[in-house]
């Protein structure tokens, strides 16, 4: 198993544990355990299987099972994206295996990038979203749970399968999609009407950084991507789960706690997002410095949306407060000293 994928798997398992421990009293822990466990097993299988074809089949199976979970969105709507993802990935894989003109490998790169984006639910393949849908049946498991491991696997396979020329095209597409997702995600988080949608778009924005990190073919790129993925799985996702819990007061407020959460979500120092941004800027500067300027300016767009999301948390009490404190502490620790995490992923 890829070391990076293994690290992400551990984080995902921790996220499941967080969801179980800090679930509201009214939630069915058994249901959470079954769904979370099944998702975790499938994700582990995606990372562990030796052949990419097997991984595609697991994604397909996962997509079908996920679409069958009772939810607000129709079955067809929920199944489309995973099916498209697998179809495109399979076609891409096929093109890289057959002999033919060099442009076929570039098309294969397109298939890998588009398939990954469709599976995770990134622009332009955003999964339709119903704000009032339960987390388990929403697109969140793809973007925040399965997606990180899936992306690591796809990128690592692409490095092996694609030639140098196609690899450059692959990297360029990742960066292009990354910038687009950054911009769209951060602006939409700020301006969209619905708060649940704002949370979803905030994941999109972070994924923009992840894609840019994977697209930077230097050592700092994957490191940055890993740290952002850590921030997604161990920061944004748990906070989203806490936000989803029913609470007595629904009004937004801007107190110190809310600002702290906003700072975490915005990637301010000393949280892990800032360390990731430093690495991204370093990688981008080495590759093409105007890209670093674009990224730096884009990073400022996180602020208004993060303030909005921070305010939406209200004042957590009891277990919710403990959960948030834990998330903040972990993000600070890794933000100040990310080396152990990077070493565990052999980066």
């Amino acid at each position: 198993m890829l070391p990076e994928a293994a690290v992400l798997l551990v984080l995902v398992a921790a996220a499941v544990l967080f969801a179980l421990v800090f679930a509201p009293a009214t939630a069915s822990r058994r249901g959470l355990l079954v769904q979370g466990g099944a998702g975790l097993a499938a994700t582990a299988a995606i990372a562990a299987v030796p052949a990419f074809d097997l991984a595609l089949l697991i994604i397909l199976a996962l997509g079908a099972v996920h679409a069958a979970i009772p939810g607000v969105r129709p079955f067809a709507v929920r199944l489309r994206a995973p099916v498209l993802a697998v179809a495109v990935l399979a076609l891409g894989l096929m093109l890289v295996r057959v002999e033919g003109p060099d442009v076929l490998e570039r098309f294969a790169a397109v298939g890998l990038v588009a398939g990954m984006a469709a599976a995770v639910g990134l622009l332009p393949y955003i999964h339709p979203f119903a704000p009032d849908e339960a987390v388990a049946s929403s697109p969140l498991p793809w973007i925040a749970f399965v997606g990180p491991v899936l992306a690591a696997v796809v990128v690592s396979r692409a490095e092996v399968l694609l030639s140098v020329d196609a690899g450059q095209a692959f990297a360029a597409m990742l960066i292009g999609l990354g910038v687009v997702n950054m911009a769209w995600g951060s602006i939409a988080t700020w301006l969209t009407d619905d708060t649940a949608a704002a949370w979803r778009y905030s994941f999109l924005a972070d994924w923009g950084l992840v894609l840019c990190g994977f697209g930077l073919t230097l050592a700092d790129g994957p490191r940055a991507a890993l740290l952002v993925l850590f921030g997604i799985v161990a920061g944004r996702l748990p906070l989203y789960l806490v936000w989803r819990e029913p609470r007595a007061e629904q009004a937004t407020r801007e107190g110190p706690f809310n600002l702290l959460v906003a700072a975490l979500l915005a990637g301010s120092a000393p949280f892990v997002g800032f360390a990731a941004r430093v690495l991204l800027l370093r990688g981008a500067t080495q590759l093409f410095w105007p890209l670093a300027l674009v990224l730096a300016l884009g990073m400022l767009l996180w602020l208004p949306g993060s303030l909005r999301l921070g305010r939406s948390m209200g004042i957590p009490r009891g277990r919710r407060a403990l959960g948030v404190a834990l998330v903040v502490a972990v993000n600070v620790a890794v933000g100040l000293y990310p080396l152990p995490l990077l070493q565990a992923a052999h980066l």
């Binding site: 597409m173 600002l259 700072a263 000393p270 360390a275 730096a296 100040l336």
Partner: protein, 550 residues
């Protein structure tokens, strides 16, 4: 001195914050004693580490994971700025009552700011400085969510820009450690980004920003701490920039440009100060004025200018504590504070500004004119100070947070310390100039009693001490009875304050013309993008395929 000692100025307030937080969660508030102890321990640690050896001590503990090692250093620059940050904060934490949450956050902010000035590399400074900024914002919100606070975007932008500078240094020169960066790496574009980062970190701009706005808050507990820990950091970056560039900025235009910006900022602050409606409003402009002149002195590029700027900033640090503890009522404390702020002789502010102006003349050419402009700004502030004595105090602050006697003591100290400016320069500022400029253009000499420049000598003791004695005599004879307070009109009437506000409202009121709304309807765009339209997905696939064939 073991190198691990450099951890103490950071670790001790951090430890104190943790202890206060633990007890706080348990329902026990340790109060000002613990807060003061935590902060003063940082001051004492700085003194204890630096004074015995008076040379650089460094601790390097290995890589952290983002291209920087854990590298802390205490040298002359760290000592100077560390004292400027920690001393006023310690005084405020000792005297003003706070909740345990505010105490913890204040100590956390202090530790972060000290870490920023102790950091041995640019990236680490960016992370620590960014942390201090985040903590300061949270602290201000904890105290009063509705009161003015710094724009988070500008603070974040500044520290992000600095981190970019750090990574450029790592990429271009292999390291971002201040003492090891190859000079050739510090190019003009890189310095421009560094300068922008410094200006954003301290908001050193001609318009009214948070260093002035914070003083209008109902309570000054968080405001005092915030200004104490954040305001010096931008100047710190500009001083360290000399070290990066082997004693100079990469282009003389930067020296001139920053110096001009500084004097414009100082003049704008003085103009706002003399048009203030209350004494508190006047005093709110004092720090930006100090900062403007400090920027000018530091930026001109000579050793004398640098030391003048540092003494000026040290005085500003004292004024932070003075202003935060000063009540808004009339009295001797207010008068002395204003006198200290405007730089009446024989105060140390007077001495530092005289040296600063002298430094601009010695630097020559255009910079001499900047010195003259600085004098004009100073004169404007003095007029404003005279007017401010007769102004109403302001909205008032909680009695338990103000300590008129302590405030008066600080103001008096800065006035009395004028004759000792030479000694302060030698002990406090000269080592900084030696550290960052190595071979200053003109030697700084003069000993403990006078300041020797290239073209002149300022006999500090023999000139200012008699002035001091004279001032004491006059006060002893006349007291404050000779001071008549009355409302006086402003010397310079500022344009209508609503101009900026009206412009902003005008921008907000802009709308897309009716006939174009269907094209630029964001909601429809969002619906289209998130609707899961298969055609859109296939079109995106085709677009990507087309793109790779180019």
């Amino acid at each position: 001195m073991p190198s691990a000692a450099v951890l103490l100025p950071v670790a001790l307030p951090l430890f104190a914050a943790a202890v206060i937080a633990v007890f706080g969660f348990a329902g026990v508030s340790l109060g000002r004693v613990a807060g003061g102890a935590g902060a003063w321990s940082s001051v004492l640690a700085l003194l204890g580490v630096w004074i015995p050896v008076r040379s650089s001590i460094e601790l390097t503990l290995g890589p952290l994971g983002y291209g920087s090692s854990f590298d802390l250093r205490v040298d002359a620059v760290t000592f100077a700025f560390g004292l400027m940050i920690a001393a006023p904060a310690a005084l405020l934490l000792t005297l003003q009552p706070r909740t345990w949450q505010e105490l913890s956050l204040s100590l956390l902010g202090l530790a972060s700011a000290i870490a920023a000035v102790e950091a041995g590399s640019v990236v680490l400074t960016a992370i620590a400085g960014g942390t201090a900024a985040t903590v300061a914002i949270v602290l201000l919100e904890t105290e009063d969510p509705r009161a003015p606070r710094p724009g988070w975007a500008t603070l974040l932008a500044g520290w992000l820009a600095l981190s970019w500078v750090g990574v450029i240094l790592q990429v271009g020169g292999g390291t971002a450690v201040y003492s090891a960066v190859p000079v050739a790496t510090v190019t003009a574009p890189l310095f421009a980004v560094l300068a922008v980062a410094a200006l954003l970190a301290s908001n050193l701009f001609p318009w009214r920003t948070w260093p002035a706005d914070l003083w209008s808050r109902r309570s000054l507990r968080a405001a005092g701490i915030t200004v104490a820990i954040l305001y010096p950091l931008g100047f710190y970056l500009l001083v360290r920039a000399y070290e990066l560039g082997d004693g100079r900025y990469p282009d003389p235009l930067f020296n001139a440009g920053l110096a001009i910006l500084g004097v414009v900022a100082a003049f704008a602050a003085a103009a706002r100060a003399q048009a203030a409606g209350t004494r508190r409003e006047f005093l709110g402009e004092v720090l930006p004025f100090f900062g403007g002149l400090g920027l000018t002195s530091i930026a001109i590029g000579t050793g004398l200018g640098l030391v003048a700027g540092l003494v000026n900033l040290a005085t500003a640090a004292a004024m932070v504590a003075c202003l935060a503890l000063l009540p808004d009522r009339a009295g001797l404390a207010s008068i002395l504070s204003i006198a200290a702020a405007v730089g009446l002789p024989p105060g140390i502010a007077f001495g530092s500004r005289v040296i600063g102006v002298e430094a601009t003349f010695e630097a020559g050419d255009l910079l001499g004119l900047i010195g003259l402009a600085g004098v004009a700004a100073w004169a404007t502030l003095m007029v404003g100070g005279a007017r401010a004595i007769g102004l109403p105090g302001g909205r008032g602050h909680p009695e338990r947070e103000t300590f008129a006697s302590v405030s008066m003591g600080i103001a008096l100290l800065t006035l009395l310390a004028g004759p000792a400016i030479a000694a302060i320069q030698v002990g406090f500022a000269n080592p900084v100039a030696s550290e960052v400029m190595q071979a200053p253009a003109a030697p700084l000499g003069g000993g403990l009693t006078s300041v020797v420049t290239v073209t002149s000598v300022l006999p500090a003791v023999s000139l200012l001490a008699p002035l001091l004695v004279l001032g004491i005599l006059v006060y002893a004879v006349a007291g404050t009875s000779a001071i008549r307070t009355q409302a006086r009109p402003a010397l310079i009437k500022l344009p209508a304050g609503g101009l900026w506000h009206r412009a902003r409202e005008g921008l907000r009121a802009l709308t897309v013309p009716e006939q174009y709304r269907s094209i630029l309807n964001i909601r429809e765009l969002e619906t289209a993008a998130t609707g899961g339209q298969p055609l859109l997905w296939l079109a995106a696939l085709a677009a990507l395929a087309f793109a790779v064939t180019r």
